[in-house]
């Protein structure tokens, strides 16, 4: 099995297309960091408009930790589309190329191949996330320095001490990996249904957009299905950055407001991953390979 994974990784990283996503993420992040470095004070001023009426905020609000949070908010909505580029091509791309029949006539079962391909696609996804984490967090920390994380949510503000931030980002990135792996597995499933890659890539992107809209619109009818949609849970990495307060309204260091929400989301995402991959294996096992 490990040899199959090695082969799949080798093929993924020999293709120029693979590096588009890494380049796109780097370009996006650099542009945003540059913009915030030049004009960040105006942006921070806009965010803190309501607060500045009442309070004076002293300290480096626009520091690396906040920049990373802003970047993750923006990118973790769009990175799934980059993940789909590779994941949705894993099986259909080979079918289109005609090499699928070569692979499936080797002494490894289709299940082995499908799982190896999924694992390789997952490794690619994780590497993409690590790249994103490096640029968004560590490079931001280097450019903008560090201070407390002053998070301006829609209805309230969370101030997290410096020493209490980094582990939250580790948790958030681990969570984000589950979110992205769900997209990987969806793309993979789409890929197993087709003999060319355009359909699965477009299908995966469309599904994500469609379900994201269902997840974000506050319509009672949609509220029935929201808990079961993976897109509802994908952005709950933000829960790592909401803290509990005691009866005196003092924030409790090291706490997470809603751990149960994180656990539930992780479970839902994991179930989706298992479901999509299992479906892919079943489809491929039953399929006649005509390509």
């Amino acid at each position: 099995m490990w040899s199959l994974i090695q082969i799949e990784l080798y093929k993924i990283f020999r293709r120029p297309r693979t590096y588009i996503a890494f380049g796109a993420i780097a370009a996006l992040i650099v542009v945003i960091q540059l913009g915030l470095k030049i004009d960040g004070d105006a942006y921070a001023g806009f965010l803190m408009k309501d607060i500045n009426d009442t309070l004076t905020v002293d300290g480096k609000v626009l520091n690396g930790y906040l920049i990373c949070y802003i970047l993750l908010q923006l990118l973790l909505v769009h990175v799934p589309l980059l993940v789909a580029l590779i994941a949705a091509d894993m099986i259909s791309g080979e079918a289109n190329l005609g090499t699928l029949r070569l692979l499936f006539s080797t002494p490894f079962s289709r299940t082995h191949w499908v799982l190896a391909k999924f694992i390789a696609a997952s490794i690619y996804t994780i590497l993409l996330l690590i790249w994103l984490a490096f640029l968004a967090l560590f490079v931001s920390m280097w450019i903008f320095g560090t201070d407390d994380l002053f998070l301006m949510k829609s209805n309230y503000v969370v101030l997290i001490e410096q020493s209490d931030v980094l582990w939250r980002y580790v948790g958030a990135f681990v969570f984000a990996s589950f979110s992205l792996l769900t997209v990987t597995s969806l793309g993979f499933l789409m890929s197993s249904l087709s003999s060319n890659s355009i359909g699965p890539i477009v299908g995966t992107m469309s599904a994500i957009v469609f379900f994201t809209i269902l997840s974000t619109l506050n319509i009672p009818l949609f509220n029935l299905v929201k808990p079961y949609l993976f897109t509802t849970h994908m952005n709950n990495w933000k829960e790592f950055f909401d803290i509990k307060v005691n009866l005196d309204n003092e924030a409790i260091r090291g706490s997470i407001l809603n751990i149960a929400k994180i656990k539930t989301s992780l479970m839902v995402l994991t179930l989706h991953i298992i479901l999509f991959v299992t479906a892919s294996v079943i489809i491929i096992k039953k399929k006649d390979i005509l390509s």
């Binding site: 082969i7 190329l97 002494p107 005509l290």
Partner: protein, 311 residues
């Protein structure tokens, strides 16, 4: 493995029993049965769309048969797939490869999926065998169709399999390339004792290498037999051209030559021993039929064309 090895020299390497494959209403393969003995070159002949590739894909478990059994090395392909395919090398239809990898990288990749370790020297030797040693490091996207075909064959051979399945191996090759592949097939069977299952629609090439042939048409077996017998020079296909085909045919049918007549849409064709040709001519002349010419053919291609056009 040892079981497979022992089996190899005792019974049929390929045993197909009554396999059929339906794609909806279309019967791609219809109740097909045959056996391939160890060390044979088996020619699987048919026009394009006759069911050859479908059959080969069923042998390699790429397609699930609608009914019937397939055994390779005496074991069911469905139940012992992995062990069986370790001993099989195949090229299926056109040589589709990874354009961004080189010839060597392809062989390294496909060597990796084999359970036995394949040395770098084996890879080099395989490339030499198919005439690609000087293009080993070039990316496949720079290859011609013929070179891709050679690489496809190399992939089938790199792990030294006992059974080699070649689907249209001479596609895209120039005459020298075709001759090289023919020589390779003969070498694999004679010198290395491999079983080679070759499919093609180019009968002129296969008849020179195959010990046994099977002709398939519209998914059905039309004929199967030892090549020598099917090409029996003593039994020629004779086409008679006369000024009065009706009279000639009537004469033949009423006489002793009637049993040799082959049903054809046009012309008068008989399959009869060579020694009888002169007698046939004499008979027709005596009946007042003016014989314009007698053509004889003994190539397998002609046999194939006749059978498939009659069907």
């Amino acid at each position: 493995m040892f079981g497979v090895f022992c089996y190899y020299y005792s019974m049929a390497v390929i045993k197909v029993e009554n396999i059929s494959k339906h794609f909806g209403a279309l019967k791609a393969v219809d109740d097909l049965s045959f056996e391939v003995q160890a060390g044979q070159v088996f020619g699987f002949l048919g026009q394009n769309g006759s069911g050859k590739s479908t059959t080969i894909r069923m042998l390699l478990s790429l397609i699930h048969p609608s009914s019937g059994n397939i055994e390779l090395f005496g074991k069911s392909i469905q139940k012992n797939r992995d062990a069986i395919l370790e001993q099989v090398g195949a090229i299926i239809e056109r040589p589709d490869l990874y354009p961004y990898l080189s010839a060597t990288e392809h062989l390294q990749l496909f060597a990796k999926v084999r359970k036995k370790k394949i040395e770098a020297s084996n890879i080099q030797n395989t490339l030499e065998k198919v005439g690609l040693a000087n293009r080993a490091k070039d990316k496949v996207q720079t290859f011609s169709l013929g070179m891709k075909q050679r690489l496809g064959i190399a992939i089938a051979l790199v792990h030294n399999p006992s059974l080699i399945i070649l689907d249209e191996p001479t596609n895209g090759l120039d005459p020298q390339g075709i001759a090289d592949i023919r020589a390779l097939i003969q070498h694999l069977a004679k010198e290395e004792g491999k079983t080679v299952f070759v499919s093609s629609h180019l009968l002129s090439e296969i008849e020179q290498v195959a010990h046994q042939i099977l002709i398939i048409h519209q998914g059905k077996k039309m004929v199967e037999g030892v090549t020598k017998e099917l090409l029996d020079p003593e039994r020629r296909i004779v086409q008679i051209k006369t000024t009065n085909d009706e009279l000639a045919l009537a004469n033949i049918m009423t006489g002793s030559f009637g049993k040799y007549v082959l049903p054809r849409k046009e012309g008068i064709h008989l399959k009869l021993p060579t020694i009888e040709i002169a007698s046939l001519n004499e008979s027709l002349v005596k009946a007042g039929v003016a014989v314009l010419g007698i053509e004889t053919k003994n190539s397998l291609e002609d046999y194939f064309l006749q059978i498939t056009s009659n069907a």
